[in-house]
């Protein structure tokens, strides 16, 4: 972490300047603070060979490399490349000189503007919240490079040209960023900068090459599991077999006799074995004898919990949206259609299981992790370790996937690592040793924080002309947000926004509408899972709409067009996908199409799935055509990759069973019984991007929600049956 050490001094200067800026800024609307004042004013002269911090996001080295500090976790979504593209554009850098790395944990400099005073990544906000901030950071640094050149060459700044990393003047004078950076950092940052005319963008919209492709193709990319420090111990934690059970007593004698095992300690979540390597820790953990107190544990099975949900779905819930009067409309309707939909618990199962390295002594702590919630993890680790949050340094490394799992408000895996590091404080021979906590796949599948199980009950009133006049949607399931620090912001009048998103904001023009929520409580810990509420609301709403289309003999695309006249961006992706997928054109025998359109995280996606149905009832998704509108496309290649990825992730949960509990115990444990999508199940994918001048919005998640309903809708066409639960059946009855 030498790079982190190198930036310590300018970092302090930056902090001071940031504080001044905040004091001067006063109350800013929406809490949105833009960062063009962040360059240090009085940075000491940079010694030759040292890189220069131009501002919080841009470091320029004498070798002319420009490193963009990403306040967001790179977990595969391409954010290092995306954020660096925005900077490179306004800086007029040469893409070849651009690098990216994770920024330090520092909420004052690196907070997510969509989260308020919290540094973290999620909700497909990375590009959206950084757009203006990084354009200004890039433009400001560019202006300072120009000012430095103007002073050095004694020419007017207005005559200086910057093109692909070269600063030049018509007199023939020329310099690289690397040559000018040290002087540039001492220039007064301009109070205002002019941002580039989008018509002149060289990188934005042009699919520059991902920055991490080579390192991720030759094994050199560094993940948390790869961290090796002197004296480091590997820890495996034996957690309770039931959610809510606690350690009653344990016998570590056999574990301690395993060669390589160094220590066994009890922490909040169980008993940890520390060893010289993973294998010894794993053998040691197997040898633990633990008696658990299951008094307060969740002992219900998922069948029982779902049966309770179904009963709740028959009763009115708390209102999430209310327009007109659904009861009157149902009474007057020519026809009433009802359906219920069920969704299982889902594990995220990122390929890199949860892991962190914690090095702790009384003076402070240092953490290495694919950290997704730096500010919250800092606070939680500090609490455990008896430190101040700023004494907890976090090095954010690449994460081997997350899909939401690494961002949780209790910092589960970070707290476990911190507790283990703290627990060895009293053991003289290993005091201060860095601890690498590794979850096994079994720990991951059985460790909870799942996408909640949900039940949806829908009811529609249809008039004599086939119009939908009433729509009632009841959602039953656990709240992800209740009981977390986000509750005051994200739960209003008992409605957790994440439980109803995608349902409460249904775009369809229906005069009488009631969306209701029953928030349940179970002992099973839950969490956001790629696209959060839309993982279930998109399926319930889009499949139910196709059931209505079938009942009223309307074409699914035509029906949606009729209901979306006031929603041009929904309509835009719907029309584009219909055109590109050849909607309405004949298909080969046994092939059928289904469509779904859904907005999530302010991005709009429509997908058409093409399914091949065999005479024996087996079926396969052959192709998915997607149309997306996520505002100005920063990097179309990454947008396409994210939509492919989102579709694959959604399709996995469309065809593979979720997590089930029996007597409170999770029935799955690894990829043999918690199956995920494999290569032979991946369809061909086409992604079409709507050209846009709107501000960029997220793309990490929005590709996921429409795929399951599009596939179910295709199967409905082919089988004349309805599909009201995920996963869909492996084989269906042919029509």
């Amino acid at each position: 972490m030498t790079t982190m050490t190198k930036i310590d001094l300018p970092q302090k200067a930056l902090l001071a300047s940031r504080r001044r800026f905040l004091q001067g800024a006063g109350a800013t609307s929406l809490g949105l603070v833009v960062g063009f004042h962040w360059a240090p004013r009085n940075v000491m002269a940079q010694a030759a060979g040292n890189p220069t911090m131009m501002n919080a996001f841009i470091r320029i080295a004498p070798d002319n490399t420009v490193t963009v500090l990403s306040k967001h976790l790179e977990m595969g979504q391409g954010v290092y490349t995306g954020l660096a593209t925005i900077v490179a554009e306004e800086l007029d850098a040469n893409w070849a000189q651009i690098r990216a790395e994770g920024a330090p944990a520092d909420a004052k400099l690196y907070n997510n503007l969509a989260f308020g005073p919290v540094q973290g990544t999620g909700g497909s906000t990375a590009i959206a919240n950084s757009w203006e901030q990084l354009r200004k950071a890039g433009a400001t640094a560019r202006a300072m490079l120009v000012a430095a050149a103007a002073e050095q060459w004694k020419v007017p700044a207005g005559e200086i040209v910057v093109n692909k990393g070269v600063v030049s003047h018509k007199s023939g004078k020329k310099a690289s960023f690397g040559q000018l950076a040290a002087k540039a950092a001492t220039m007064t940052p301009p109070a205002e900068v002019t941002l580039k005319d989008p018509a002149k963008f060289q990188y934005i919209g042009k699919s520059v090459a991902r920055l991490d492709s080579r390192a991720k193709s030759n094994g050199t990319a560094q993940f948390t599991i790869d961290v090796k420090l002197p004296g480091m111990l590997t820890a495996l934690l034996q957690r309770a077999p039931l959610f809510g059970a606690t350690v009653k007593s344990f016998d570590a004698s056999k574990a301690k006799s395993v060669p390589g095992v160094v220590e066994v300690v009890q922490v909040s979540n169980g008993v940890a074995v520390l060893a010289k390597n993973f294998w010894a820790a794993s053998k040691g953990r197997e040898a633990l004898v633990i008696e658990w107190d299951e008094t307060n544990a969740e002992k219900r099975g998922t069948d029982q919990i779902m049966a309770e949900y179904r009963e709740l779905g028959k009763k009115p819930g708390l209102p999430a949206r209310k327009e007109g009067n659904v009861d009157d409309a149902f009474a007057k309707a020519a026809k009433v259609i009802e359906a219920t939909y069920d969704f299982p618990y889902l594990a995220h199962a990122p390929m890199e299981p949860l892991d962190c390295v914690v090095k702790y002594d009384a003076s402070g702590a240092e953490i290495w992790a694919g950290d997704q919630f730096q500010t919250i993890d800092q606070m939680n680790a500090a609490r455990v370790l008896g430190l101040k949050p700023e004494q907890v340094k976090i090095n954010t490394l690449f994460a081997g996937g997350s899909f939401g799992r690494r961002a949780n408000t209790v910092s589960d895996y970070i707290v476990e690592g911190a507790e283990i590091a703290k627990a060895i404080e009293g053991k003289e021979s290993i005091r201060g040793a860095p601890v690498k906590l590794v979850w096994t796949r079994e720990d991951d599948i059985q460790g909870g924080r799942y996408r909640p199980m949900y039940h949806h009950a829908l009811k529609a009133g249809i008039d004599a002309q086939g119009n939908i006049v009433a729509w009632q949607h009841r959602i039953v399931g656990q709240s992800i947000i209740a009981g977390t620090p986000f509750e005051p912001v994200m739960v209003k009048d008992g409605i957790d926004h994440t439980s109803v998103e995608g349902a409460a904001n249904l775009p369809y023009a229906i005069p009488n509408m009631s969306v209701e929520l029953h928030t349940t409580k179970t002992g099973v810990p839950v969490l956001w899972w790629r696209s959060v509420g839309s993982t279930h609301t998109a399926f319930a709403t889009e499949v139910f709409l196709d059931e209505i289309a079938a009942e009223t003999k309307q074409d699914p695309v035509a029906l949606r067009r009729k209901l979306l006249t006031k929603h041009p961006r929904h309509l835009g992706v719907l029309n584009l996908v219909a055109e590109k997928a050849g909607w309405g054109k004949p298909l080969a025998k046994g092939r059928m199409r289904g469509v779904a359109v859904h907005e999530s995280f302010n991005s709009f996606v429509a997908e058409v799935a093409e399914v091949a149905l065999q005479p024996d009832g087996s079926w396969r998704v052959e192709k998915v055509v997607a149309a997306v509108d996520c505002g100005i496309p920063i990097n179309p290649a990454i947008i396409r990759a994210q939509v492919e990825s989102g579709i694959g992730f959604g399709l996995s949960a469309t065809i593979k069973p979720g997590i089930s509990l029996k007597g409170g115990k999770v029935e799955q444990s690894n990829f043999h019984d918690y199956e995920v999508l494999r290569i032979h199940e991946m369809p061909k994918i086409e992604v079409h991007i709507v050209p846009s001048k709107e501000k960029p919005t997220g793309i990490g998640e929005p590709g996921t929600p429409p795929v399951a309903p599009a596939v179910a809708n295709a199967l409905m066409v082919g089988t004349k049956q309805v599909f009201r639960a995920l996963p869909l059946p492996e084989a269906v009855k042919s029509a």
Partner: protein, 153 residues
């Protein structure tokens, strides 16, 4: 009991538990971390190495089973096929989170070493044991076809 084998062309001897999986011996004892842990039971392929040129799941291969054999990890990958595969991986921007990709590359190199003209079914058969949660499968397939062209050229 000391176990000797050849790792990336160099002889190594380890005096560790002979049941220790090859993956952990290479990662923890030798310090090469390009091969990844994903499941520990030969289900995901993130740990794939070559033993005598054949792809094996190192997380479930005890060190005792590879005594005297030639082991290649992503770090030791070399030659025409490896270069074609890795260049195609970069060109197609296959990797997203990247965690499974060492294993994917190892499986792809083993496939193209045996079969210079794989069809989609061959690719499915060779790559089905490698899970990618980012579902980069479309690009894996495209990159393998592209690399095959380079290898044949």
């Amino acid at each position: 009991m000391a176990i000797s084998f050849t790792l990336n062309g160099r002889p190594v001897t380890l005096d560790v538990d002979p049941d220790m999986p090859l993956l952990w011996a290479v990662r923890d004892e030798i310090g090469l971390t390009g091969s990844k842990f994903g499941c520990g039971m030969a289900q995901c392929g993130a740990c794939t190495m070559h033993v005598e040129g054949q792809p094996v799941r190192a997380c479930s291969t005890p060190l005792s089973a590879i005594a005297g054999q030639k082991v290649t990890t992503i770090e030791g990958l070399a030659g025409r096929v490896a270069k074609a595969v890795q260049d195609a991986w970069v060109k197609h921007e296959v990797a997203q989170c990247g965690y499974c990709q060492s294993g994917q590359v190892m499986s792809a190199v083993a496939l193209l070493t045996e079969n210079k003209r794989p069809n989609d079914a061959d690719i499915d058969a060779a790559m089905q044991g490698n899970i990618c949660r980012c579902a980069t499968y479309v690009r894996i397939r495209a990159a393998i076809h592209d690399a095959a062209k380079t290898v044949r050229a």
